[in-house]
Symmetry: C2
Subunit: 83 residues, 2 copies
């Protein structure tokens, strides 16, 4: 499984998570929903039966703002939801 | 709020749902998850804090297959989850 990819224009982090079953996908989405709600931060998420794609833009999402340490930390917390 | 839009290449139905709050968005996603699981049919879904986009391809998703009555019925059932 790949890791977070940094993209430009606009700056963002993207990661695709793949799962064996819909149940695993949905469990991950539930944890993700709880976590983003607690963090009051809502990345763009797309999903199907066995995948979830997350696009994370800088917290201060003005045009051209770079990703910072807090953004990478947020991404790492999402990774932690996998276990 | 717009209705389902039919698109081609590949044939699909798309609709964007917008909500006032994250809580409303999440409640809709929960109902959608329950419904798609019961129907054993998993459209592509993307969402953020206050929107949900759904892309529904024909059930028999071979290249070039047209949408049929069952697909429109499935879309209508999703609309019913709003109430």
């Amino acid at each position: 499984m790949n890791k977070w990819q940094k993209r430009n224009r606009p700056f963002r982090l993207e990661r695709r998570f793949e799962f064996e079953t819909y149940n695993e996908t949905r469990e991950f989405l539930e944890r993700l929903g709880d976590y983003t709600e607690a963090a009051k931060r809502f990345p763009d998420i797309s999903f199907g039966r066995t995948y979830v794609n997350i696009t994370l833009r800088p917290e201060d999402d003005d045009e051209g703002v770079e990703l910072n340490e807090a953004d990478y930390q947020f991404a790492a917390e999402i990774d932690g939801l996998l276990s």
